[in-house]
Symmetry: C2
Subunit: 320 residues, 2 copies
Amino acid sequence: MRQAGRYLPEYRELRRKHSLLELCHKPDLAAQVTLQPVERLRVDAAILFADILLPFEPLGLGLTFAAVEGPQITRPIREAAQVLDLPPVDPATDLGYVLEAVRLVVRALPAHVPLIGFAGAPFTLASYAIEGGGTRDFMLTKRFMYAEPRAWHELMRRLAELVGNYLAAQARAGARALQLFDSWVGCLSPADYATYVFPHSQRALQLAAAAGVPVIHFGTGTATFLEDFARAGGDVIGVDWRIPLDVAWERLGADSKRAIQGNLDPVALLAPRPELERRVRDILARAAGRPGHIFNLGHGVLPETPVDAVQAVVDWVHGG
Amino acid sequence: MRQAGRYLPEYRELRRKHSLLELCHKPDLAAQVTLQPVERLRVDAAILFADILLPFEPLGLGLTFAAVEGPQITRPIREAAQVLDLPPVDPATDLGYVLEAVRLVVRALPAHVPLIGFAGAPFTLASYAIEGGGTRDFMLTKRFMYAEPRAWHELMRRLAELVGNYLAAQARAGARALQLFDSWVGCLSPADYATYVFPHSQRALQLAAAAGVPVIHFGTGTATFLEDFARAGGDVIGVDWRIPLDVAWERLGADSKRAIQGNLDPVALLAPRPELERRVRDILARAAGRPGHIFNLGHGVLPETPVDAVQAVVDWVHGG
């Protein structure tokens, strides 16, 4: 999870001097933050420090971060006509600073630690672009989707091209795996996922897969349309804690070559140590006897997480 | 849904003169708001106007409503010791004004229109009591649950007794059906639902059922533990739009006598009329040929909802 930095004291120290966007914009700082959890925790992979909403800057939507409310989009998409006015985005130049951070990280990492690049999925990006920030009911997003289906699909097509190319560019810059984050897609019904989201996630994942590195397709709340979600693509399917790991894996097809990623509830890291250990070992047991499990959280690390709890989890997963 | 009033102009007019809590506290006003949608829309049942958090006042937790943030709990539960200090609550006296509103509504309603009473489920109430307001990650709630399991179960036991008795008292005051709202229970894993919530929901539903009227057990995001959720109790199981109605019903047991309630996405009411109609007819088709479907939304009406869209849905469901 990109928030991997949020709970580390060395990250907080950097944040006292730099805004979140500054850390993203300056490749040397983004690389530094990316490396922090690797150096401290000895995790098996690094994940790029960036924000899924960075493409909103070259898209002209405007992006700021408020202390409490999180991301704020200055010029959200509220009318169909706005979609056609979005400028084309070329990740190689418009998000070149992210690719530069990828190159710096890859150069600094030991050869046995791969870097995972990532991007927001079309639906999750569209929801922020339309809502203008976080939301609990996704009212504006769904209303736009239902009322302006042509503009919706055009927006999703453009976002799919953008993030697919952006992911592929990260692989060319040295990322050895890619992750597509569809954090909020669980607000949809299975039928709406199939109609309004599936073809666009599929396109983004195809473009990413063409870069020739493994692709992780992550979502939360996907239990009622997990088969469709997986059918959209991804060598690895990421699931949250709402579905037991073995149940999810079974639903991906018993003889499927799909790997699975997950699925500890991030709040478990704030539990007493024996309770945390019980939960980690339960997930490991559910994945036992089958290759292809990437241990991870079901969503991002919470800023309140004690570092030594994360370290304990890494050590248990490593066989301690 | 209790928010049935929020989108009606006659409700907004009352709200210009009275705070939300005033409308709840004064039985004649609460009765008036309860009757508004019945009079305007000719729905088949009335649902009591109240707030699920009203029991927090006699519990001494303190309750206010902020314009944007919604409910604010003045003295949230953060320490295990606070649970034992909670005073006993007798719904007959401490929430007597709600029961008086029930009596006034029942007197005013035509005989063929039943009143549905309701209460928040133990988990949803506990989450507000601990978080102190709305939340997206339920961090404080789950941390309390994991770190203080004895205090958690004690809190849930007390809330279950309280809401179970409160529901039964509403039935004795004249409500002809009861609904237990577990709006936020979908943030949990199936295992956590079974351990930390199930026995307490079951207890609350048993106490309610003893009053001898049908009980509706409503939740959102329950798809990954729907069988357990239903096993906790309820003559009717309410589901949200994340699971197709026929799939949910099938999972309750093909020969089960359980009725089902749902499951239109509230945002669909903001869709263009033909799209809204398509969605309503799809739900009706999924319930066709089987008795025991209560048409409803998957969650509360949004304040932005056009009244004539609600009226159109009522008319379609009535066979128009």
